[in-house]
């Protein structure tokens, strides 16, 4: 595993004829368009957070080729167990922007009723199970879903993302080991973006790569250039075919870089150099894909400008609209813990709501 990660795209944007068909011209344009939107959102939501209009944001700037490469290689009903930095998967599946913004804002139209922080998405209709903060917990879920898929012969493949930091958790071990033992129809993608908050990759493991762990689980493993969309699609297609055929799971380590801060609560200048960032910036996945598109004769400056302008406008308008929705009703706080409200919680709710109705000092909206 000392060879460099697998690549397809040349420096000039070219690719061998053998791999040109991995994505159609339409798919390349769809990806670029979605990447434009992704960057607009990253920029605008960061701004919104700074203005105090949004609680929290985490950018995926720099990791888009990995994220879109994965999304583009799956069937629409394949569940994607997100870590949290994979907005692109929602965009690829064309989840309506308002549904995304309502979650981020946590308003009354949020499908999850404003119960979780921004980014903790859940869209069952689009096969996006619920995101949670504890890292790595989603990995055994994907092993289990993939087992069910194989057992039922549904043809579904469960995909899970995690960061290279998260691969240190015990859940990573049990997930990959179980998936191997049970030949789950699952794919595990490590976004190796160099950092877990401030902690560099070198602290996570003494091994040469994370992909080598696959052998220890008796499953297929690849390291791929995570900023090379076609390379990602290539290993993903193979992995998906294998999983769908019941031939077992795959571990993919995508080598990329977290261009931005860990989150809006973080400032990376405290722990890494501008030179490092600049070096990775030269490998920007959007720029590389754009060069490829040009090489194919697609996506000229005009198309890009049109996409940018169009999305900017839609994003601004949609955000404004979503910000107008009120917060969820107070009663929703007490619903859906179990299928029915427990007597304990019922008593707590009744007492609280009664007081709330009576109270004059509160400025909290009373239901």
């Amino acid at each position: 595993m000392t060879q460099p990660p697998f690549q397809i795209l040349g420096e000039d944007g070219s690719c061998p004829d053998s791999h040109r068909g991995l994505l159609s011209d339409d798919q390349i344009e769809k990806t670029l368009d979605a990447m434009v939107l992704n960057r607009i959102l990253d920029r605008r939501l960061l701004m919104l957070q700074r203005q105090g209009r949004l609680g929290f944001w985490m950018t995926s700037h720099g990791e888009e080729a990995t994220i879109f490469g994965v999304a583009a290689s799956l069937e629409p009903e394949d569940p994607i167990f997100l870590s949290y930095r994979e907005l692109g998967c929602l965009l690829w599946r064309e989840i309506p922007l308002p549904l995304i913004f309502n979650q981020l804002i946590g308003n009354s139209r949020d499908l999850c009723l404003g119960r979780q922080m921004p980014i903790h998405y859940c869209y069952r209709e689009w096969s996006i199970p619920s995101v949670s903060s504890p890292v790595g917990t989603q990995l055994p879920h994907a092993a289990g879903f993939g087992y069910a898929a194989r057992l039922r012969g549904t043809g579904r493949v469960a995909l899970a993302f995690c960061g290279e930091g998260t691969a240190s958790e015990g859940d990573f071990h049990t997930a990959l080991n179980f998936a191997g033992v049970f030949s789950s129809s699952s794919i595990f993608v490590i976004r190796n973006n160099g950092y877990a908050i401030s902690t560099p990759e070198s602290v996570q493991t003494a091994a040469e790569s994370l992909a080598v762990r696959a052998e220890g689980y008796g499953i297929a493993g690849y390291q791929v250039d995570g900023n090379d969309l076609l390379a990602v699609v290539n290993v993903m297609r193979e992995a998906r075919a294998r999983a769908a055929a019941g031939e077992g799971p795959t571990l993919i380590e995508a080598m990329t870089y977290r261009m931005g801060a860990h989150s809006t609560a973080d400032d990376p200048s405290a722990y890494r150099t501008e030179e490092e960032e600049a070096a990775w910036n030269r490998l920007d996945p959007y720029e590389r894909l754009k060069r490829h598109a040009r090489w194919r004769g697609l996506w000229d400056e005009e198309a890009e400008a049109a996409a940018q302008a169009g999305w900017e406008e839609r994003v601004v308008a949609t955000l404004a609209e979503c910000e107008r929705h009120p917060p969820p009703r107070v009663e929703t706080l007490f619903e859906g813990v179990l299928e029915t409200v427990s007597p304990q919680l019922e008593a707590q709710r009744d007492a609280y709501l009664a007081d709330l109705r009576r109270s004059s000092t509160t400025d909290i909206e009373v239901p």
Partner: protein, 327 residues
């Protein structure tokens, strides 16, 4: 009419699992040694043979993996039934249970609600020392989003397990292993369910309310009999479901008796008895004739040689009953 048979708890649980597996094609049993071997306590005996090794199977030795995988299976529409070999070994899966399983329905706004039931033998009385004796009910009862159910005999074991399997919520089903074989009884062989969340009055009485669950119920029965010998009339209640719990039945009883003793094996501090005492004193304050009391395990790890001192005995309970009545 409906046939009955004399079964112990293991057989009753096995019967419940068998009948449920028969009815629900989505049901899958997984855990350590539950397959061919039928579980170290034999609760899943014969089920792999009957339902095949894709529906009843051994897993690698990793509780976090078992529960995590079960959640994923549940998200895919299966109905996983997990065995954790001993409740003492559930802690590697604690994060998956409290941060994932318990919160999945709520946090997804009801879009997903993986139906995972976790069965696990718990409690002392088998000379198991620190790690084959613990009673972890509070860790789960304190966690919103979980049900905690504890049967005290074969009839309850079968009916509550089937009730729990029909229910859409995640359930921690704690099986009092001390009475796995000792608690035998004649129970219906047909399919039946018992409602969750309902306490069961085991014995009517006027002087004091005694509350327990699981194996301690039997010790309390002894204690109630001893107390009767001393002239005290004890009302004994089997709580059965700890989360949610049936406060109304307790309060109704204490309003009559004015006194309550709660018994459990887990350490006293922050044990489930504290919750019952706190809730009952708030709801029945004006009827109380004496402080509500707890007879429990001590605030130490569960011991080996001195287990009989650690576990509440009928004598210890009887003394507390008398003391509270004579207060």
């Amino acid at each position: 009419m409906a046939e009955t048979g004399t079964l112990n708890m293991i057989q009753a649980l096995n019967d419940a699992l068998d009948q449920y597996m028969e009815r629900d094609e989505d049901a899958v049993i997984l855990g350590e040694d539950v397959g061919h071997f039928g579980g170290v306590f034999r609760v899943t005996n014969g089920l792999q043979e009957k339902y095949g090794s894709e529906r009843v199977f051994d897993t690698p030795l990793a509780e976090a993996g078992i529960v995590g995988m079960a959640i994923g299976m549940g998200l895919a529409g299966l109905r996983p039934i997990v065995e954790i070999q001993f409740a003492d070994f559930i802690f590697p899966a604690f994060d998956q249970i409290v941060n994932e399983l318990a919160k999945y329905r709520y946090r997804s706004g009801g879009q997903y609600a993986p139906r995972v039931l976790i069965r696990t033998p718990y409690g002392g009385g088998i000379r198991g020392g620190h790690y084959h004796s613990q009673s972890p009910e509070v860790y789960f009862a304190h966690t919103p989003g979980l049900r905690v159910v504890v049967p005290s005999g074969p009839y309850e074991a079968k009916g509550l397990l089937l009730g729990a399997l029909e229910c859409a919520d995640p359930v921690i089903f704690l099986e009092p292993k001390r009475i796995y074989r000792a608690a035998r009884g004649e129970i219906p062989l047909d399919y039946y369910t018992l409602p969750l969340e309902r306490a069961r009055v085991v014995r009517k009485g006027e002087d004091i309310t005694l509350v327990a669950w699981g194996a301690m119920l039997h010790t309390c029965q002894e204690a109630a009999a001893l107390a009767e010998g001393e002239g005290y009339d004890v009302e004994l209640i089997d709580l059965q479901s700890l989360a949610p719990y049936d406060l109304r039945s307790l309060v109704r009883s204490v309003e009559r008796t004015g006194r309550m003793v709660v018994v459990h094996e887990a350490p006293m501090t922050c044990g489930f008895g504290a919750e019952l005492v706190a809730a009952v004193q708030a709801a029945a304050f004006d009827c109380l004739k004496a402080p509500l009391q707890r007879v429990t395990g001590f605030d130490t790890p569960f011991p080996y040689t001195l287990e009989d001192h650690y576990l509440p005995s009928a004598e210890r309970i009887t003394r507390e009953l008398a003391r509270t009545i004579e207060y």
